[in-house]
Structures are given as structure tokens and as C-alpha cells.
Symmetry: C2
Subunit: 82 residues, 2 copies
């Protein structure tokens, strides 16, 4: 299933570079859970991140974020791509 | 510039097909404003839509939605793609 997750508040001072490192950690962690983080978009001024992810369910996607870097998304939606 | 816009409340009963029609109307409208709606993701159960859009500024992106179908996004963020 395809999901879009939304992080509403990056940690104070986090940069796009920090998000890139977190994404790399997701990629190292995801295979064991059948998860694939496909792409992400960052607004570091607003502290917002959108992650597009293929996962068996929302909890599996959250688990990868939790184990990889601890920054679990605030919201997650099952989506179809237009 | 690249933006992610977020629609938080699709009109009651709107389906993924309705969103596809709205997107087609965006595509017919966008050129005159230098805007390009690139992709979108829909959760029709939650009434949520995420649109990825190239635009000279946020207002130009909103203008296309407003003229094409009237459904202006609730939020819009300048983003960098990871």
C-alpha cells in the first residue's frame, strides 16, 4: 500500500541535510519490514516533511522511522497516486 | 519553485475520480500562469489531497486551483525534494 506521512514539527534547528541523513537511516532499516520510503519533500522553515512510502500497513512505516531515527510522523494517510 | 499543497477536506462524497477531473482542469488552466501540477495523492476516505506543483509562487498555484475548479488548498509549503 502507498502512504503519505506528514511530520508537522521538525526538531528545532533541523536542516534539509539532517532530514537527508534520517532518510538514509530509513533506507538502511526498511527492508526487514517490507517498507520502501520512495521520496520526501521538506520545508525546513515550517518544519514540515512529507514522506511517500510503500508499506504493508501504516504501523510498519512508523516502525521504520522509529527504529531508524525516532522521528515518527504525526499523520499518515493511505493514498492513491493521481 | 516547488510546492506541496494540502487539501484537508474534500467536499462530502468526492471520489478519486472527481479529484482526477479537478486535476485535469488544473492542467488545462496552468500554462498561462507558468504553473505545472506534477503529481497528486488522494485519501478520499480522510478527504485529504496532496498536490506537488512547480509554480513561480504560492499564489500562482492557488490561482490555478481557484480558476480551474474552485478548490483552493488549505495549506501550501515551499519544499525541496529529497
Amino acid at each position: 500500500m502507498l502512504f503519505m506521512d506528514v511530520h508537522n514539527h521538525l526538531p528545532e534547528g533541523a536542516t534539509a541535510g539532517d532530514v537527508a541523513e534520517a532518510h538514509a537511516a530509513d533506507v538502511r532499516t526498511q527492508d526487514q519490514y517490507g517498507v520502501k520510503y520512495l521520496n520526501y519533500w521538506v520545508d525546513d522553515h515550517a518544519g514540515k516533511v512529507f514522506c511517500l512510502v510503500e508499506a504493508p500497513d501504516a504501523e510498519a512505516a512508523h516502525r521504520v522511522h522509529r527504529e531508524a531515527h525516532g522521528l515518527v510522523a504525526d499523520e499518515i494517510y493511505p493514498v492513491t497516486q493521481g
